[in-house]
């Protein structure tokens, strides 16, 4: 089933998007209690990147007696790789014993940076961005937000996901959102199934794209990133996806300065939306949006084949 949510403060400025998204996702816990993911967009840093990296799964911590030493080895190797390509580590903070937040001073090629990070066995990039920070872990929204200190995260917009595992394991690698490797600041959350996943994936791989998982949601992120690099505006990329992606889906995509959503022609997956002059909140169920408002609000369902985009 899964639950998806998003919000954007259209006038820019810094708002408590971490706390807001936590409240929305907690209301959607019943749609997916296995894991929760946050794609948060904070202040943009033109000359540096924030990378969210994990060196192990949460389950490894209880099952592997040597995991502490393995994580330390992986981090040392990762730091060495970063040093080799000239990426200066401004700060490296352990959000959990197995997940780190890197602030990197780097002006080189992003794909090279991503490849270097991922060349260390057991290391996985959750996101790299100038504004995006992607956090996902097992448990509900409050548990994950508490573990990573997301309640105090400020920014302009955010997307999130509560996952009910159906076709892959309950682990961090299978949790949403997905980052569009190796394009900075593009993330996707998705509710549905793509039926032409392999066809589209092979087509994208033939053009040089790489996939970090076998999840169809990642395909949407890479597909959108691919269209944007070909010159499409975000609206155009989303509209094109309606005809080129088969299946039933509603997804939310975020870039450094925009939030968008698309719904397939069958309209089989839910989405409820509330828009005011300066704010938009959307989610799989209205109960999520209601967590942000005390007053009565007007909401609506986007229609089949509908694409909507908002910018900060």
């Amino acid at each position: 089933m899964c639950g998806i949510a998003g919000l954007i403060h259209k006038t820019g400025g810094s708002a408590d998007v971490g706390a807001e998204l936590t409240a929305m996702l907690q209301a959607l816990k019943h749609r997916g209690p296995d894991s929760t993911g946050f794609g948060l967009y904070g202040d943009s840093h033109p000359n540096s990147y924030v990378a969210r990296v994990k060196f192990a799964e949460e389950a490894d911590m209880a099952q592997d007696h040597d995991i502490g030493e393995r994580i330390a080895e992986r981090k040392r190797a990762t730091d060495a790789h970063l040093d080799r390509i000239g990426a200066r580590v401004v700060a490296a903070t352990a959000a959990t014993p197995y997940a780190y937040r890197y602030e990197l001073d780097y002006n080189g090629d992003l794909r090279e940076l991503a490849d270097e990070l991922e060349s260390v066995d057991g290391t996985e990039i959750l996101s790299i961005g100038r504004a995006l920070e992607l956090v996902k872990d097992l448990g509900d929204a409050q548990a994950v937000a508490g573990k990573y200190g997301l309640d105090s995260f400020t920014g302009t917009h955010a997307i999130g996901h509560t996952r009910m595992a159906t076709e892959s394991d309950v682990d961090i690698s299978s949790a949403h959102p997905y980052w569009a490797y190796p394009f900075s600041d593009i993330s996707v959350v998705h509710n549905g199934q793509l039926t032409n996943y392999w066809t589209k994936r092979r087509a994208l791989e033939r053009t040089g794209h790489r996939f970090m998982s076998s999840c169809d949601s990642e395909l949407i992120a890479v597909y959108i990133a691919d269209r944007l690099t070909r010159g499409d505006a975000l609206e155009e990329a989303l509209e094109r996806s309606i005809s080129e992606l088969d299946g039933v889906f509603t997804y939310v995509v975020a870039t450094a300065d925009a939030l968008g959503m698309a719904k397939d022609l069958m309209a089989a997956k839910p989405m409820v939306l509330c828009e005011t002059d300066d704010f938009v909140a959307l989610g799989s169920e209205e109960v999520a949006i209601r967590r942000l408002f005390n007053e009565e609000i007007d909401t609506f369902d986007p229609y089949e084949g509908e694409v909507l985009v908002w910018r900060t």
């Binding site: 022609l265 109960v287 209601r290 007007d298 909401t299 369902d301 089949e304």
Partner: protein, 283 residues
């Protein structure tokens, strides 16, 4: 007590003679049995519609709120207002009783589902599958509604004054669905009986594989589904529409006479002796 003149008029209008389909599926309503069919459930609460009360559902789980409604009915209250429903799911479901039930806000999914008898008024919006399998009574929503609005509706009036989502009245088996705004794709999908009124636009695949029933549309139709065809508006259609819209304070933007009428083409009916291959030849 039934109004004799009204009943007579409704019979003249043919409202008691809807025929489902084919050779063996005709259903006739017997006027003499109307009173019998308007039965009261054996364990129904003897409520007084003039006895009113309210409660606040802000801090309640849906089960708790629904239990509270039953407790109040058991205490004889026939008019209940629920404050702060907060778009919670499954509120007001399974009520098989005479009751005036007001929600001072919005409902989530499956609101007022499987009801038989109450008059429900919702000041806000409803989520997916509102009034699913409703048997009798009225449900009136002041704002928008989500998808699968009135799925498998069997009787009563279901009204949304705003826009509604996709698959409205999917598998509708009776009653009336009235929409003040537009409706999404696949509305009236596999409709079997009853009437649907859309005052605004209708999405693609309207009335797809409908068996029977009537869909009236006041705006544009993006596309008809398989075996859905245009029918001819009659005086009876207009009279019925005028009466229903008046009841709920709605108006057809371009006039009732200019509404489109969609019915089953009846080419997909399988109530004959044709084998599927022969059916293909005909179609």
């Amino acid at each position: 007590m039934a109004n004799v003149d009204t009943d007579k008029r409704s019979h003249e209008m043919g409202l008691h003679e809807e025929r489902l389909a084919g050779r063996t599926q005709q259903v006739f309503f017997e006027p003499a049995r109307d009173d019998v069919e308007r039965f009261t459930y054996p364990d129904a609460y003897p409520v007084d519609l003039d006895k009113a009360t309210e409660f606040d559902a802000a801090e309640m789980e849906p089960t708790e709120a629904n239990r509270r409604i039953r407790e109040l009915m058991a205490a004889g209250f026939g008019t209940i207002t629920v404050r702060n429903p907060g778009a919670k799911h499954s509120l007001g479901v399974g009520i098989l009783n005479r009751l005036n039930l007001y929600f001072d806000g919005s409902l989530g999914y499956f609101g007022a589902g499987s009801i038989d008898g109450p008059n429900v008024r919702i000041a806000g919006r409803v989520g997916w599958s509102c009034a699913e399998n409703m048997m009798a009574g009225t449900v009136v929503i002041e704002k928008n509604a989500g998808s699968s609005f009135g799925a498998a509706l069997r009787g009563g009036d279901l009204v949304a004054k705003g826009d509604v989502g996709a698959r409205t009245g999917i598998n509708q088996k009776g009653g009336s669905i009235i929409i003040g705004g537009r409706t999404g794709a696949f509305s009236g999908f596999m409709m079997q009986r009853g009437r649907m009124v859309v005052l605004g636009d209708a999405g693609d695949n309207l009335g797809d594989t409908m068996y029977d029933g009537i869909i009236y549309v006041g705006g544009e139709i993006k596309g008809l589904g398989v075996d859905a065809v245009h029918g001819e508006m009659t005086d009876l259609d207009c009279e019925w529409l005028r009466r229903k819209l008046d009841l709920y304070g709605l108006e057809a933007p371009n006039g009732i006479e200019n509404m489109k009428k969609i019915v089953a083409g009846r080419q997909l009916w399988n109530y004959d002796n044709l084998e599927p291959t022969e059916k293909k030849l005909i179609l």
